[in-house]
Symmetry: C2
DNA sequence: CAACGCTTGGACGACACAATCAAAAAACTT
DNA sequence: AAGTTTTTTGATTGTGTCGTCCAAGCGTTG
């Protein structure tokens, strides 16, 4: 169960990029990105496309990781999370 | 696409209960509950069991409605939400 | 229309969370 | 080990949200 922050850090280190570079692309302070990578702050959805480009991740992959992290951290303690996810999927599908 | 607030309001009105009564059980001010029902405030997960009892809703049902609302409002604009939900479900299942 | 109960709205303080900045700490390089 | 770059930490300030309180709006009933 690795977090979204660790995920980002792994990707960045694989590319040998400093926080400074990635933070610059995001137009935020390095300290914020540092905190995001250590899960002291939460990334916003607006950051995802820029992160994907900077870290050479597919848009789909980073979004999926982000969604997993948000759901588990916001709703992970609920007893019927699985049912809720299934129902949400159903309403998304029937909405196409 | 009706909201969690409308859902609560419908249930309450079906029982003919005033905000006052339900708010008392939740131990919050009526104005807050009013705002929750009009989606100006967000219910917390701690409120769900009390709401379920007060509005005669099954725990499972109210949780599922809540989950749907939270996911769609927090993540609804993401392109790969469906994939993210499927992946989250998978990791929940494999974690059993 | 006065009185009553229900509901809504806005002002206020409390509190959690976010961003900025500078300095300390850690990690590399030579 | 000194010097340089990268990363973390903490103090400060800013922003948003929550809940309380109270006043006003709305509808119904006497």
């Amino acid at each position: 169960m690795n977090s979204f922050g660790e995920y980002l850090r792994n990707k960045r280190e694989q590319l040998g990029l400093p926080l400074r570079k990635v933070a610059a692309e995001l137009d935020i302070d390095t300290s914020i990105l540092s905190k995001i990578e250590r899960n002291e702050r939460v990334a916003t959805t607006e950051m995802l496309p820029t992160l994907a480009k900077a870290l050479e991740i597919k848009d789909k992959e980073i979004e999926v990781e982000f969604i997993k992290a948000v759901i588990l951290s916001d709703l992970g303690e609920l007893r019927f999370l699985k049912n809720g996810l299934e129902e949400t999927l159903n309403s998304l599908k029937s909405r196409e």
